[in-house]
């Protein structure tokens, strides 16, 4: 700006990006608030943000909102774990062994395209309304994403890593734990991040039908009772959970796979 440059003529700096990250949602919320106040949009369908935040406060104080949040979060974490570990194991198995790959590849190809939420009625029949049904929906979704990303990661391990091991007589055990696992870790993490995000979608959908607690259940309730502010309150919370989840996994990733990010620089 010093040389008479106009504001948007320059590329945003890191600092600009950081303050805009906070500022942009606030700007949109303020515009929203103003639009309702001036009757530009209908406050019945788009309640002003201050009412939504007031609702969150009210629900948190007078009702058991935290229980719903915790129930949903627990299901995401437990369900993700239930799908993640088998997915990674089978992905590595398929990546390393031709027999395993030949056997499972058609099964995966057939079952992967099924929208996971379409399995919910079947799960309801098998497990009934309850915890297991909700966990299984998440687990199945995460399972496939972990499996496919892990498999892809194993297939992309540079051949030379194995050749070096072969020449130096490295044991199979060491090849697995000290080459295959770390070399695949970036892809495993990609699968975990995608899976956790997908898990959030799935759990909210599942809870609408198959649960007596959880944010999905509450959203469905507020629809049935026509409390639109509560509906928005739940959407806000889901968004926050999603961001928190992504942020945590991102931090964990840079921690564990430090060599990968540096590699790309």
């Amino acid at each position: 700006m010093s040389n008479g440059e106009r504001f948007l003529d320059r590329e945003p700096s890191r600092r600009d990006e950081r303050w805009l990250f906070i500022a942009s949602p606030i700007i949109v919320l303020l515009l929203w608030e103003a639009a309702v106040a001036t009757h530009l949009i209908d406050g019945r369908f788009f309640p002003p943000p201050h009412k939504i935040f007031a609702k969150i406060w009210e629900l948190a104080v007078h009702e058991d909102l935290h229980e719903d949040v915790l129930a949903s979060m627990r299901r995401i974490v437990v369900g993700t774990a239930m799908g993640f570990f088998p997915g990674v194991l089978l992905g590595i198995g398929m990546g390393l062994s031709r027999w395993t790959r030949a056997f499972f590849a058609p099964l995966v190809a057939l079952s992967y395209p099924i929208p996971k939420i379409a399995i919910l009625p079947l799960l309801l029949i098998i497990f009934g309304i309850g915890e297991m049904t909700n966990l299984m929906v998440v687990a199945i979704g995460v399972f496939f994403l972990s499996l496919i990303n892990t498999f892809d990661g194993v297939r992309r391990i540079p051949k030379q890593y194995f050749e070096v091991a072969r020449v130096y007589g490295v044991s199979k055990r060491d090849v697995f734990f000290r080459i295959v696992l770390p070399a695949t870790a970036p892809s495993i993490f990609t699968g975990l991040k995608l899976g956790a995000g997908y898990g959030l979608i799935l759990i909210v959908a599942a809870e609408m039908i198959a649960a007596r607690h959880g944010l999905g259940h509450r959203i469905w309730n507020s629809w049935e009772t026509y409390i639109i502010t509560e509906l928005y309150a739940c959407l806000f919370l889901i968004s926050l959970i999603g961001i928190a989840l992504a942020f945590l996994l991102e931090k964990l990733e840079t921690r564990i796979i430090h060599w990968k990010q540096k590699d790309a620089d």
Partner: protein, 277 residues
């Protein structure tokens, strides 16, 4: 006859390798006959695509020859590894530190674990990397990584060291430095070395004997003794007229092979382009 005795470290008799490409039958190399004594430093030069790297990979046990005899004897010396290899690209593991990369191959070697730390320290000091012990390969330069790759091979105390154009991606200065370093490391225990390169200068700088290969499918065309006194000065040697004569002689010898090989590669590229359509 001194066949089937252990006076040779490596014996190749009519060694050949064929494999099936997507479209056709490929002969990688043909009728290779070679004997390498224990502690000998042999360089193999040849035009690109002549099969010299494939031959080396057979010696390394990464690939298998399809015909002929390949014997690699193992001397009954304790605390030595049967073989080690240095690749074109360093082949270090990016998630392991400098010392972690050495530890990884030492763990696979017959060298007792209690000696590992001392061996790692000694070798890293030797190649000037001791300060970078806890660094990761991505934090080092290309030359440093190749030095690490070189010392990784030496730290397991190999009886046979296979080198596949290890310095080809380095700049001139780094290459000369690493050649000198290699000779220095080799002189300690003098493991047998088979060193593949297309750089004739490099071959005569390092070797006791230079094997010249024909174009694909490669076979040995000539062997040239290279008995300059050791220890050698990598740069001084280049002023030696006998050295220059030998380099010139082999360069001439290879010129026609290289031209023919280039034509072959052009035809091959054209053929692939045709079949791809």
């Amino acid at each position: 006859m001194t066949d089937n005795d252990n006076s040779y470290h490596i014996r190749l008799e009519g060694l050949g390798k064929s494999f099936q490409d997507k479209t056709r039958h490929v002969r990688a190399f043909d009728d290779l006959n070679l004997r390498v004594r224990h502690g000998e430093f042999v360089c193999v030069v040849g035009p690109s695509g002549c099969g010299k790297t494939t031959m080396l990979r057979c010696l390394a046990g990464i690939e298998t020859p399809t015909d002929g005899v390949m014997e690699v004897h193992r001397a009954p010396e304790p605390e030595t590894s049967p073989r080690a290899m240095v690749f074109q690209q360093h082949g270090l593991y990016p998630w392991m530190t400098v010392q972690g990369n050495l530890k990884f191959v030492l763990d696979a070697s017959p060298i007792p674990p209690e000696q590992h730390e001392e061996i790692i320290d000694r070798h890293l000091t030797r190649v000037g990397l001791s300060r970078f012990k806890n660094f990761y390969p991505y934090q080092l330069s290309g030359g440093m990584n190749q030095r690490l790759s070189l010392v990784r091979a030496f730290c397991v105390n190999p009886q046979l060291l296979l080198m596949d154009e290890p310095f080809v991606y380095l700049d001139y200065q780094n290459r000369v430095n690493l050649q000198a370093l290699l000779l220095e490391l080799w002189s300690d225990r003098e493991p047998t070395i088979v060193f593949v390169t297309h750089n004739i200068n490099e071959a005569f700088t390092l070797a006791d004997r230079v094997m010249v290969m024909t174009r694909s499918p490669g076979t040995f065309k000539r062997e040239v003794a290279c008995d300059f006194p050791r220890p050698r000065d990598v740069l001084e040697l280049r002023k030696n007229t006998e050295f220059q004569d030998k380099v010139f002689f082999v360069t001439q010898d290879l010129k026609e092979e290289i031209q023919a090989a280039a034509r072959l590669i052009e035809e091959e590229t054209a053929r692939k382009a045709r079949t791809a359509r």
